[in-house]
Amino acid sequence: MDTKPIHFDEMLAAEGSVRAPYHAYEAWFSKQNPSRLKAKSKDAEAFFRRTGITFNVYGKEAAQERLIPFDLIPRIISSREWTKLAKGIEQRVRAINMFLYDIYHRQEILRAGIIPTDLIAKNDAFLPQMIGLTPPGDVYTHIVGTDIVRTGEDDFYVLEDNARTPSGVSYMLENRETMLQMFPELFSQNRVKPVSDYPKNLRKSLAACAPPNCTGKPTVAILTPGIHNSAYFEHSFLADQMGVELVEGHDLRVVDGHIAMRTTKGHKQIDVLYRRVDDDYLDPLNFRPDSMLGVPGIMDVYRAGNITITNAPGTGIADDKAIYSYIPDIVEFYTGEKAILRNVETYRCAEPDALKYVLDNLAELVVKEVHGSGGYGMLVGPAASKKELADFEQKLRSNPANYIAQPTLSLSTVPIFVKKGLSPRHVDLRPFVLVSPNGIEITPGGLTRVALQEGSLVVNSSQGGGTKDTWVLEE
């Protein structure tokens, strides 16, 4: 096996010994017949196709459905590592909610000069419509997917906060189901913390955020842009698992000051709407007038306290890549504590010194669009051709404020199953966090995304990434 000592491998230490969390797994793996594993891997793919666990790829021929490749080697996290991660994530999510409350109310953090006023005022993700509006329980970001990368034994970094509409949780759940079906014996040999309570917890968490005007048992629904959306499978999966209706904009309208869905028996009131539609499309009367995906007037219902929208509109201001670099300060400002999880060093290209540094060192850096997501419009310096670098330099110079840059991190690796056996690939981790007035809940583990190309650092499913089941071991 080729181990490159410069990367931290989570399973195998440099001298070839197996790290503690993987002991039991490795003992099992070494006894497996590779051809049986290969067959299992094929089974898994057929299972995903049959059950329709697919995502749509944009930009290819009309919304093609693709599978996210699943790798059968689990990513294993020790209880000790998880405890630290969970603490750090909780602190960060708490601070982000306090930041959002502040930024839409008194803006103390701007007064204190911690964040430049322009960064908020001139940011498209900042919604003036939200000023002075207080969502139930002061919760803005109910569902978070914090992207974490690892570079060493104890070195964890937050890469992105994904506070608006994180996706991928359905893969976390289906990956575990698949592993349980394929290798039940592994779960008697390893004590793995369960993840299957997520849909139940999500429903409880959403119901706990019902608006104060809602007196009975709250009705929850999921709002999807429709079957052509890249994450449609997840929307229908979550609705199904929670036992709530999956609605589209044209199913909804305002009736007597409430949001109601059109049923076969007339209109039925909704109290909590878990929307998987972007802010801009949420309400054609208040945002983009051409949007067909939202509900005309929903913002007025929201303002009147007759519906809870999760995540709250305007939440994007907290996971904007330009704000990202300030998160450690934000954590400290609101909690009075040092941030437990580190940030990746970030150059804000809007600042002239930073821009100069970025242009001088483009080939070593990762450059991202401030508002981009899904790995689109991103430059990975070390992997880019001369022409790509030159083209990107042009883009940077013409609109520097649209970009941030980060050093290329030496992401940890976890082996994947290939023809020859095991081969290391870079991974990241997206744990899923639920926030309600009752507290913050983090499902142990999350979604591990893996760059299937040897040496590649891009883990996005839209760019050839795969996923792994993620285990957090009991103590």
Partner: protein
């Protein structure tokens, strides 16, 4: 349940039923082509007419050959009622209403789509046609089986079955409409082997050639066939049976919701109308007129159900 979900279930099962009927229609047409050596263009033409896609076909082809018709009805994505189009539409509707389906129903409809997309990738040679058509019918039956075996008997189930019944009634009526002249009593006097082939084709297109023989002691008359297709209370694809089923399903909904709609009056009328008639009185009134009126009524009923149960905005 959401109006959209009711509509999705209804259309999902209409499209599945249609895929199955297209397979039957081609099977019957193919059989004629095999058993008759002379010109089969007019038979293929009536197949295209029954499928309701004459205009689309004529826009592409100049003549009715078995090769072109089969390809157009099975594989052509320009044809809104081709097998591949309706199987895709059935699955799209299933994806839309995924939360209202059991895993088994969803997997059956998804597998149907995967298998058929693969099977219909390239033109189907005659040697493989019978097996493929069987496959189309089998997949649709698997979805229906999963529906019956796993779904709760609630409004979801009712709307799915209403879609099947409406499509069934429409299809059988259209077969009669296109072939009505071979079913007129005067056709008996013609009595040539050619007409026997025509009758058998009609029966085969609704998978009833065997059941008809069982019931009719082997005797085949045009009015006997017409009566069987229109008024029989045991044959699941007769107009009467499909209408009776619709009335039953709509009655469940009325009871479940505690509310009657305009569609309930329409179906009561439709069933009463069929009950009042004998095959004699239908012929007296004019078979063609009777069937045309039925097709219109059945369409109106479908539209009324869509409206009463708020399928659309």
């Amino acid at each position: 349940m959401l109006g959209k979900t009711a509509g999705g279930l209804y259309w999902m099962f209409r499209f599945l039923e249609r895929s199955e009927n297209i397979a039957r229609l081609i099977e019957a047409g193919f059989r004629i082509a095999l058993t008759r050596s002379n010109d089969t263009a007019s038979d293929w033409k009536s197949v295209v007419t029954t499928a309701g896609v004459r205009r689309g076909y004529d826009a592409i082809y100049d003549s009715y050959t078995s090769e072109n018709v089969v390809d157009f009805l099975l594989r052509d994505t320009r044809n809104p009622s081709s097998a591949i189009t309706v199987i895709d539409k059935a699955r799209t509707n299933a994806r839309m209403v995924r939360t209202a389906l059991t895993t088994e129903v969803w997997e059956a409809v998804n597998e149907n789509w995967m298998a058929m997309k693969k099977a219909l990738k390239s033109p189907i040679p005659d040697t493989e046609l019978p097996a493929l058509l069987g496959e189309v019918r089998r997949h649709s039956a698997l979805v229906r089986g999963a529906l019956h075996g796993t779904m709760l008997r609630n409004d979801n189930y009712d709307f799915a079955r209403i879609g099947t019944a409406i499509e069934r009634a429409d299809y059988t009526a259209r077969i009669i409409d296109v072939k009505y002249y071979t079913l007129l009593p005067s056709a008996n006097f013609v009595g040539s082997p050619l007409d026997n082939v025509q009758w058998e084709t009609v029966l085969r297109s609704v998978s009833a050639h065997r059941s008809f023989r069982w019931l009719g002691d082997g005797e085949m008359t045009s009015s006997g066939i017409a009566e069987f297709l229109i008024l029989d209370s045991r044959f699941p694809r007769s107009l009467y049976f499909a209408s009776k089923t619709l009335r039953e399903l709509l009655a469940y909904l009325a009871e479940d919701y505690g509310e009657r709609h305009a569609c309930h009056d329409l179906i009561d009328e439709q069933v009463a109308n069929l009950r009042q008639h004998t095959i004699r009185s239908i012929f007296d009134e004019g078979l063609h007129e009777f069937i045309s009126a039925f097709i219109r009524q059945n369409n109106a009923l479908g539209a009324q159900i869509e409206q009463d149960y708020r399928f659309n905005k």
